[in-house]
């Protein structure tokens, strides 16, 4: 990137303090752009302002409300709107990049309040919802203001086309591939092991499917072990496991980035039995980059991320028998497994931030053509033109 330095405003709709796909995407993108010498300010709902990095501006405390099948930490209301307006007018940005502008949070407010070059990234993939049709007429004129739209996956793109009748450029989520490239094989995690990373208490992450499949897998691969990493209370989950199989489970708790890289290099199979609600599946990209052979449910996001099975094995979602069948097949055939992991690792390089951020940046460049920066929107544009006044 050898261009002039920009002032970029990023808006994250979800609470900054809670871990999540959109938040880490915004954080990584912000840090990447800052490293490239641009001025970046992130507006997000924040609980603990002390802990947030310097480039984050708080728009207030997030409100936890059920949205789209999970509890989302969003923020809206007149006070938040005032803060959004203030942030826009103080920031003197060249460009705004709004994440998830179609959900009721500050990205939507920013899109409403601002005028000028705006890029929107759509993360979510959802089934056709009636509610969206009801609010469509309100949402449409707002979303229309975006100069360019990005969808993180084909699934997110088709959601956008169905719900809002607008197209988007697909740019995947980014990972720092080199962090996972050189993981070391750890003895205690290697062997016939199946790895799982994530908030395993959430049913949609699919740990129950794996639990059900395990007895079958154990029959064919007697020394199989399951390693589960991620935050959560393991006690309850352990109690729900058949006592005979308990010894095969190991809960590692939250692991560091370095440990994650080692974990992914060590396990025989990385499994993602998610039952839905995923739009992209960043963890799969990381697992591929870490050199693991990936086995995932065939939900649309995973299916397209894994190239319909070319870069990772797929099983029928929510079908423990099918999971067991494919897992056994992979555990028994180490040549096949290695070839799969190798293909996956090469493929994962395209999700590296160096590639992804470059693509996002070229969208920025296109959005910037012929503009003079972001301002608070004026609802008098048409009048000004009619009266022959210049400006805007």
């Amino acid at each position: 990137m050898n261009q002039k330095k920009l002032r970029i405003g990023l808006v994250c709709p979800y609470g900054w303090d809670t871990p999540g796909g959109v938040q880490s995407h915004v954080r990584d993108l912000a840090e990447y752009l800052i490293a490239k010498g641009h001025y970046v300010s992130v507006l997000a709902p924040v609980v603990d302002e002390e802990k947030a990095p310097e480039y984050v501006t708080s728009a207030g405390k997030p409100i936890a409300i059920p949205y789209n099948g999970a509890v989302a930490r969003l923020l809206f209301g007149p006070i938040a709107f005032a803060r959004v307006r203030q942030w826009i007018s103080n920031g003197k940005f060249d460009l705004l990049h709004l994440h998830e502008p179609a959900i009721p949070s500050i990205s939507l407010l920013a899109c409403w309040a601002a005028e000028g070059p705006m890029v929107g990234t759509f993360h979510a993939a959802a089934k056709r919802q009636k509610a969206i049709f009801a609010i469509g007429p309100i949402l449409e004129p707002v979303i229309e203001k975006l100069t360019a739209r990005i969808a993180v996956s084909e699934a997110a793109r088709s959601t956008l086309t169905e719900h809002l009748e607008t197209d988007a450029v697909v740019i995947p989520n980014g990972i720092y591939a080199d962090r996972y490239r050189d993981g070391e094989v750890v003895e205690k995690w290697s062997g016939n092991t199946i790895g799982f990373i994530g908030r395993y208490e959430e049913p949609r992450k699919g740990l129950p499917v794996l639990l059900e499949a395990l007895p079958i897998i154990a029959r064919f691969a007697p020394d199989v072990r399951v390693l589960v990493a991620g935050p959560g209370e393991s006690k309850e989950v352990i109690e729900s496991i058949d006592p005979q199989l308990r010894s095969r489970f190991e809960f590692l708790g939250r692991i560091s980035e370095k440990e994650k890289a080692d974990f992914l290099s060590s396990v025989a199979i990385y499994v993602a039995p998610n039952t839905g609600g995923e739009s992209f599946g960043i963890i799969l990209a990381e697992a591929l980059a870490g050199g693991a052979a990936v086995l995932a449910s065939d939900i649309p996001a995973f299916d397209s991320l894994l190239g319909h099975g070319e870069f990772g094995a797929l099983f029928k979602s929510e079908d423990p028998r099918d999971l067991a069948r494919v897992a056994i097949d992979l555990l028994r055939d180490s040549d096949k497994r290695r070839a799969l992991a190798k293909r996956g690792k090469e493929y994962a390089q395209r999700f590296d931030w160096d590639v992804v951020a470059e693509d996002i940046y070229s969208i920025y460049e296109m959005a910037l053509v012929g503009s003079s920066g972001v301002t608070l929107s004026s609802e008098n544009r048409a009048w000004n033109r009619f009266l022959g006044r210049e400006g805007s």
Binding site: E144, T147, D167, V169, S362, V369, A382
Partner: protein, 167 residues
Amino acid sequence: MEKYFFIAFIIIFAIWYLSYSATRLDRLHNRVETSWANLDGLLQRRAAVALEIAKSEIADPASSLLLTAAAHQARDAQMRARSQAESGLSGALGLLLHDGHLVSGSIEKDLLRELSELTDKIRVAIALHVDAVNRTQMVRRKPVFRIFRLAGRAPLPVTYEFEADVL
């Protein structure tokens, strides 16, 4: 009395809504203009690169001739004939580069790299422009916009038909 308030409210709301809609449409026209400016700039640059390639050692005399003609045509084309001319240029470039003969020399390599970067950008620029145009056409078809002639004298934007697979 209440009735009058109600009527006044309706009238004020209607005025606000029309003004808001006019702003919305104005913004869309603006988006069409800027996305076209962007696409146009990229296409001009591509034509320039194509001419460079025609002059370089990549092209044999015959394809050089073809390419030069196509590039000039793309540059001179009027708005309506533009997409066809640009598709022609894509075709000419495709013919030359599909042969996949070896390219030596750093200037030639630079040219080809620049061309492929431009092609990627053009693809995105077309998507942005087409989206803006479709959106504008859609909004202008709505009854409110037609009855109150909110578009004023602005011409209806033309869809840019580009054979994307030739790129």
